[in-house]
Amino acid sequence: MNPLLVLAAEEPAELVTSGFWVEWAGLILISPFVAFLLIVFFGKRMRYQGAEIAIGALAFNTVWATALFVLNMTRGVLYERTFEIARIGFLGGTRELVFELGWMVDGLSTMMYFLVSFVGLLVFIYAVGYMEGDVRVTWFFAAFSLFAGSMLVLVGAPNLVELIIGWEGVGLASYLLIGHYWEKKENSSAGMKAFYTNKLADVGLILGAIIVGVTLGTFSFSELSRVAAEGGSGLQTVASVAAALLFFGAMGKSAQFPLHIWLPDAMAGPTPVSALMHAATMVTGGVYLMARTFPLYQNLAEGVRPAMVVIGAITLFAVGLLALVQDDIKKVLAYSTVSQLGYMMTAVAAGGYTAGLFHLFTHAFFKALLFLGAGAVIHAVHSNNMSDMGGLRKYMPTTYWTFVVGSLALAGIFPFSGFWSKDEILATVGYEGYTFVMWVGIGGAFVTALYMMRAMALTFGGTYKGDGHPHEAPKVMTWPLIGLAVPAAFAGFLNIPGIEWPGIRNFTEWLAVRVVPMGDYHPKSVDVGLAAIGLGAALAGLAVGWWLFGRDASTQAERDRLEIPLLYPLFRKKYYIDDLALGLVWLIKAPFARAVLWINDYVIDGIVNGAGMLTRGLARFVYGGLDQRGVDLVVNGLAAATDAAGSGVRRWQSGRIQGYAASFVGGVVVLVLAVVIFR
C-alpha cells in the first residue's frame, strides 16, 4: 500500500482519497501536451491559428483544478498514482532504484494546479489580443501550451524524476518563448542566457536527486518525507549535501541571488510569457521544490537553512533595489518578481511553509495582473520604456485601475492580498529567530512600495510623452485583467490568522495534508504591532515615491531625482554581477576553448588530413595502376583485335556478284576434287 496513504490514516474521515476527480487528475498533466501536438499539426488552419486549442485545454484544466481546489478547501484531498517505468539494480544487485511516473493530488499540488490553470487560462485569453498579427502566433501558442503543460507535470510529479522532466520542459519552453522574437540577436541571446543559467543550477538539482535516489532507493516525495520525518540519525550529512544541491537547483529556477541574472533579460519575450513565467509557471518551480521537500530541510538538513535564509534575504532586498533604476516597465516588474521570490524562499527556508506558499499563491495573481497591465500599456504605447509613457490614466482607465490594485497588493497595503502574505512571512521569520532578516523584509516592503509608486507615477501620472494616441486595450485583454484583479485584491482573506470561514478549512490546513508532522510555524493570530510596522513601511514607500515621482517627470533629470552618487551607478550596472558572471564564464571558457582549438588543429585535423591523404594515394593507385594500365589495356586490346578482324574480313565482301559466284564455284570444285581424291 502507498506509504502516503498509510501515514494519512490518522487524517479526518472526510478526506478525499478516491473518486473520479482525483483518480483521473492525470488528465490535467496530459491535456496541454495534447493541445501542443494538435496546435503544431492543425493550428495554422484554424480561425485563431491554434489559440482556441490552447485555451480549450487550459479551460478544461481550470474546471478540473477548480473542482480539486474546492474539494481540497472543503474536505481535503490526498491521492497518489504511479506507474513503474524502470527498475535498476546497483551495488551488485543488492539495492534497487525504481523509476516511476504518475501524478499526485494533495494540498500543495492542488494549489499549483489551480494557479497554473487559472492564471494560464486568463493569460492565454489575453494573449489572443496581445499577439494578434504576430508572425508566429501558432508556434507561440504551441510553445505556450508546452510551457503550461511542463509546469503541471512539475507540480504534479510524485517523485523527483518526473519533477525533473517537467523542470527541464519548463526550461525548454521558456527558452523558446523568451527567444520568440529571435530575429533580434539580443532576444535569442536572452533565451540562451536563461537556458544556460538554469542549466548550471540544474546540475545541482540532478546531483541532489541522484543522491536522494541512491540513498533511499526511490525518488518518491512521500518516501522522502517519511524518511525525513523519522529523522534517521545517520543521514544528516548526506541529507545536507542533497538538500544544498537541491537548493542550488531551486536558486536557478527561482532566480535567487546571484543566479537571478537571467530573469530580467527574459523580458525579451512577449509580455504574456513574462506574465505566466513570473506568476505561476517557471520561477515558482524552485519555491515549489523547496516546499515539496520541506521535511528534508526541516528535520534532516537544518544546517543548510541559515544559508538559504541569507540568500533569500539578499535577493529580496538587494535585487529589489535594482527595480528603482529601470526605465523598462517590464524590468521593474522582473526585479520585483526576483525580490518577491526572495521573500518566498526566505520564508520557506526559515520554516514558514505556509507563509512562503501563501505568498506564492497571492503573488501569482497580482504579478500576472501587473504584467498583463504592463502588456496592455506596451500594446498601446509601442514602447517598453516608461519615459515614453505618462498620463495613461485618462486613456486607459480599466488598465489603470487594475494596475493600481496589483501594485497595492504587491506593495502590501491593507487589505489587498499581498499585505496578508507578506505579513505572515515577516511574522514567521521573526518567530523563527531571524530578527535581522525580518527587518530586511520590512525594508524590502518599503523598497517594493517605492518602486511600484515610481512605476505607477511614471506610467499613468503626469502627461503623455510618447508618440501617437494610446487607446484602451481590446476587451479580450481587459477582461483577464479584471479576472485577475479580483483574486489579487481578495485572495488574502483565505488565510487571515485566527479567522475561520464557515465551511472552508483553514489555508494552513488544506495547503498541506499533514502526512508527516512538518514542524513549521504559522501564526495563530495577527500580530497587530508587526502588521502595523510592515504596513507603515509600505505606506512610507508609497509616500516617498509620490513625493519623488508624483509630479510630472518629463525630463531625465527629474526622473533621476533619487540619484545617489555611489549607489546608483552600482544599481545601473546591476552590482556588476552580469559582468562577473561573464568574466567567470570567460575564465573557464578561454583555456577550455584553447585546448579544444589545439585538439582541433593538431589531432582532429591530423586525422582528417591523414585520412584524406590516404584516400588520395589509394585513389591515385587505383586510377593510374589498375584502371589506366590494367582495365584500359584489356578493353583497348579487345577493341583493336575486333577492329583488325573486321578490316581483314570486310575485303571479302566486295559486292560484286560474280566474285561471289566464282568463290562458290571454286569451293564446289575443291569439294568435288576432295571427294574424288580422298574417297
Binding site: 559486292g655 556478284i657 560474280q658 564455284v665
Partner: protein
C-alpha cells in the same frame, strides 16, 4: 541403257552455264546462264530416272519442280534487272557493287 552421252551433254551444258555465269557482264545473260545450269540438272534427273525406272517417276516429277522454280526465279530476276536498268541505265553486273560493307 547407256547414259554416258546424256551425262556428257549435261556436263558440257552445265560447264557452259558456269562459264556464262562467271564471265558474262549483262545481267540478262547471267540469268540465261543460270537457266542453262538448271536445264543441265534437269537432263541428269530425267536420264537417271530413265535408267532406274522407279515406279513413282521421281526424276521426271523433280524435273518439273525445277522448271517451275526456274520460271519463278527468272520472273523475279528479270523484274530486278528491269528495275536496275531503269534506275541506272545499265544492266551491267560489274557495276552493281553497292551491296557491300
Amino acid at each position: 541403257m547407256i547414259i554416258n552421252q546424256f551425262l556428257i551433254l549435261a556436263a558440257l551444258l552445265f560447264s557452259l552455264g558456269v562459264y556464262g555465269l562467271l564471265v558474262r557482264r549483262n545481267a540478262v545473260m547471267v540469268l540465261l546462264a543460270v537457266e542453262l545450269m538448271l536445264n543441265a540438272v534437269n537432263i541428269n534427273l530425267v536420264v537417271f530416272e530413265a535408267a532406274i525406272r522407279s515406279t513413282l517417276a521421281v526424276g521426271q516429277v523433280f524435273a518439273i519442280f525445277v522448271i517451275t522454280v526456274a520460271a519463278a526465279e527468272v520472273g523475279i530476276g528479270l523484274a530486278i534487272v528491269i528495275l536496275v536498268f531503269r534506275n541506272r541505265k545499265s544492266a551491267n553486273v560489274d557495276e552493281l557493287n553497292l551491296m557491300k560493307w
